[in-house]
Subunit: 129 residues, 2 copies
């Protein structure tokens, strides 16, 4: 099948699929006219990639996971390590964002938000009281 059908099935933009080929994540064949030719195997790989990306894995993690997926003798520990590391990073990011949210929501709640210039948000940004 051509790229637009692959894009429809996997819900990935065609541009992204071309990019994944460019960086060597997938290697579709070519038809006589030069068009990329996708098989079910490629669709499975793209679906796998889309799901892994949706879980926030980096493209390089996806590359590793895809290689492990295609290795019938892999150790699940290798997969688990990647996932656990990524989980840690996500939790750290959630913690960072939660701290920002707490500070910001407090500031937004204390700011009158009217025509007057007095603003606790700017006060907080300009001095560390």
């Amino acid at each position: 099948m051509n790229i637009s059908e692959a894009a429809d099935i996997t819900a990935l933009p065609a541009k992204t699929i071309r990019y994944y080929e460019e960086i060597g994540l997938i290697t579709p064949g070519r038809s006589a006219n030069g068009y990329r030719s996708f098989t079910n195997t490629h669709i499975h790989q793209l679906t796998f990639l889309a799901r892994a990306r949706a879980l926030g894995f980096s493209v390089e993690d996806c590359r590793s996971l895809l290689a492990l997926w295609e290795d019938r003798d892999r150790a699940s520990a290798d997969v688990r390590n990647i996932a656990a590391t990524h989980l840690g990073a996500i939790e750290a990011k959630i913690a960072d964002l939660s701290a920002m949210r707490d500070t910001l929501s407090h500031l937004v709640n204390t700011c009158a938000g009217d025509n007057r210039p007095d603003c606790p948000i700017l006060n907080s940004l300009s001095s560390s009281d």
Copy 2:
């Protein structure tokens, strides 16, 4: 003062300070020898920028906030709007990441992580059971 002292005081890398000048967030003067020359005003601006960035505001938001900060007649509503919009984006991101975390932590917990190849993480990425 020179850039390294400004960098020490504000805890911003010198590279970042140069970048902020390049994009017009600050406009330090120049000494006779061509070195950037920072005054207390610039230090205040940089400190403000560092705090706003630490709260996750984009550089463009920072530009707006800085302009509002320097406008004695601003309406606090303008500031509040920027902050509230940003707060919404942060909350959305936290929600996204929390969903990832929930899925991932479940998968990590159910994966044996040993030498055997069977791996719920890969199973989940390859089929939508």
